[in-house]
């Protein structure tokens, strides 16, 4: 046995595709899927959760250091691929958590097959089209606009300078490449799957839905729609918070998640 430092980077072979992954911690497995902007690697909230869980943070196909197999062209393809990823790691009885586009992917995975999923956590998830509001435009806007959409109050974001920084040419290439994959997956239908509210009716996994009340990208209305679609699910709305509660209200977010998981 080697001792691995928390948040170390490894590569997992999934049917011939090398998947970049950060992992760390102890306890039952918790797999986290990132949003359309790509992976930010090992984050403080991963570290918090790793006190009680072994946390796995893969870069999904076409994002960051993970190549995309030719056949992965839709979110449901990504969901199939991610099931293969979990099989490749040999994980059993996992906590599945995803944010934004990653929440959409997680919901699709649960709708396909939830027998191996002990708990599902959806965070400001894409995937269901609002009836009254709209999902904001994220592709045809400047990086500056996108950043403003993401956080409700930059003052409560630790390390905000990191998000607002000027990118190096290498980072720009990664951001651009991530945007191409997100565009491929999410352009049309825009950030949702019309079937998802119906296919989610088969999900029996205990589910927590977490939403920032002031989410300017995916309105909180969608949180309610997810709650209606998944039987027995709980909705936890975090006040004064935008699209990324795990970043903007980390303490409250982690407490909500661990409280829910400990109650099961």
């Amino acid at each position: 046995m080697t001792t691995v430092q928390n948040g170390s980077r490894t590569t997992v072979n999934v049917n011939g595709t090398a998947v970049e992954m950060y992992s760390g911690g102890n306890g039952p497995p918790l797999v986290f899927f990132h949003g359309a902007g790509g992976s930010n690697g090992w984050q403080p909230y991963h570290e918090d959760l790793s006190a009680e869980y072994t946390v796995f943070v893969p870069s999904q196909p076409g994002f960051n250091g993970t190549e995309s197999p030719d056949w992965v062209k839709t979110i449901t393809d990504v969901a199939h691929f991610n099931h293969m990823f979990i099989d490749a790691l040999g994980l059993q009885d996992i906590v599945l958590m995803g944010s934004s586009m990653g929440g959409w992917v997680s919901a699709e995975m649960a709708a396909m097959d939830d027998h191996n999923i002990d708990a599902l956590v959806l965070v400001d998830a894409a995937g269901i089209r609002p009836r009254e509001g709209q999902i904001a435009e994220i592709f045809m806007v400047s990086a500056d606009t996108r950043l403003k959409q993401r956080f409700h109050d930059p003052g409560q974001v630790e390390n905000y300078e990191h998000y607002a920084r000027e990118l190096s040419p290498e980072e720009q290439l990664v951001v651009h490449s991530n945007a191409i994959m997100a565009s491929q997956l999410c352009w049309k239908p825009y950030l949702h799957n019309p079937s998802l509210p119906h296919t989610l009716s088969r999900v029996e996994t205990p589910t927590l839905i977490v939403w920032g009340n002031e989410d300017a990208i995916i309105p909180v209305e969608c949180g309610h729609l997810f709650q209606q679609a998944i039987q027995g699910s709980q909705l936890r709305i975090i006040d004064n918070c935008g699209h990324s509660p795990a970043v903007e209200k980390r303490g409250e977010f982690v407490a909500a998640v661990t409280g829910f998981l400990n109650s099961l």
Partner: protein, 383 residues
């Protein structure tokens, strides 16, 4: 035998009533500028003027008329190049009709093949069928994901050429337009099919694609240094493909206006800069949304650093643009001399005259067409 120079008339058919003040409040000049500024009655008059210009160009001595298509654009009132080409077939008798072109990635390719074949039959074989990817706005306007533009373009091209060259019915196992039966009744008069052109401004990937297919490449008014480099890439690619490229593979679009005197031409020609601060203004993502350029296109761009640039993004004055031969205005003598310079410098087989802009008075444009056709073009062809 050397290829004879051919000169084409081109009008973007602008809605010239729009002003800088109209545009200034809006976030972008295309997707955000509302069509409440469009008055169909005024458009009726403008279309009629532009078609009169076509007819005169044909009568005065132009070899062809070029047309195009854009969407959500006040500076080009042509949402369908095929509709405009149909008009040209009826207003002209001998000129070639170059469509540059159909945005085939966002249209049904079988219907495109049928319409172009129909135009070729109606015109008695005068059609040149350009295929274009369109600006990103064309893809956004049509509601297609930008990542699909390139693969859709490739498939549409292959399917259209097959419709023209292989007897139907046939099966098409495409990714975007799968058909179990394709059997267009109308096929082109020109065999094996109408000439195909491909345009570009600054992208080497476009040049390489054209050269690999042996299609003439039309540079749309980049500065001369960049244009020469792009032409060099065409020649290199052609050599690698096993053929020698000549003037017949290369055309150049130039903004040009002729009047009876240099002074008068200078005055009218200033309108070439009409609303130029606004037409492509907006978030960069409108012109280059994620996925519109492939990773391969980015790679080619990075591996081939080009010294020049297009004129887009570079602030140049009216005088600078004239010094750079990017706008040519003057008396017939002045313009002939300047076009001779371009001919010597670039050796194009086709010169495409971008001949009006904005609110240029119709009478002045008609006079320009006449002087170009009767004086400049004959003098230019003499050498």
């Amino acid at each position: 035998m050397a290829h004879d120079l051919e000169v084409f008339w081109f009008s973007e058919q602008p809605y010239g009533h729009v002003t800088e003040d109209d545009l200034a409040p809006y976030e972008s000049g295309r997707m955000h500028f509302p069509n409440t500024y469009f008055d169909p009655e005024k458009a009726h008059v403008l279309y009629s003027n532009y078609h009169d210009q076509y007819q005169l160009a044909d009568e005065a001595g132009f070899d062809g008329i070029m047309s195009n298509e854009h969407h959500s654009s006040y500076w080009c009132m042509k949402p369908s190049v095929n509709v405009d080409a149909a008009v040209i077939t009826q207003r002209t008798k001998r000129a070639k009709i170059a469509m540059l072109g159909n945005v085939i990635a966002v249209n049904d390719p079988v219907k495109m093949a049928e319409e172009i074949a129909m135009l070729d039959c109606i015109s008695g074989g005068r059609i040149i069928s350009g295929f274009v990817r369109g600006t990103a706005v064309e893809t956004l306007h049509a509601g297609y994901p930008p990542t699909e533009n390139r693969p859709r373009f490739e498939e549409a091209h292959d399917l259209i050429v097959k419709c023209w060259t292989e007897p139907g019915p046939f099966r098409w196992e495409g990714e975007y337009w799968p058909h179990r039966m394709v059997n267009p009744w109308v096929v082109p008069i020109q065999k094996p099919h109408p000439p195909v052109w491909f345009p570009g401004t600054g992208s080497p990937e476009s040049v390489i694609w054209a050269a690999k297919h042996r299609y003439p490449y039309m540079n749309l008014g980049s500065l001369l240094d960049l244009t020469k480099q792009l032409k060099g890439i065409y020649h290199e690619t052609a050599a690698a493909e096993g053929y020698e490229a000549g003037p017949e593979h290369f055309g150049y679009l130039i903004r040009c206006l002729v009047a009876d005197t240099d002074e008068r031409a200078q005055e009218i020609g200033r309108t070439f800069l009409w609303t130029e601060n606004h037409r492509n203004r907006g978030p960069m993502e409108f012109n280059d949304p994620p996925g519109y350029q492939s990773r391969e296109a980015l790679r080619i761009k990075m591996s081939r650093p080009l010294i020049g640039t297009g004129t887009m993004g570079r602030r140049m004055s009216y005088e600078d643009l004239q010094d750079a031969y990017n706008i040519i205005v003057g008396s017939p003598e002045t313009v002939t001399e300047k076009l001779r310079h371009i001919r010597r410098d670039l050796e194009p087989g086709y010169i495409l005259i971008y001949g009006n802009e904005g609110h240029m008075p119709h009478e002045d444009v008609m006079r320009s067409v006449e002087l170009l056709g009767t004086k400049v073009i004959p003098a230019l062809k003499e050498g």
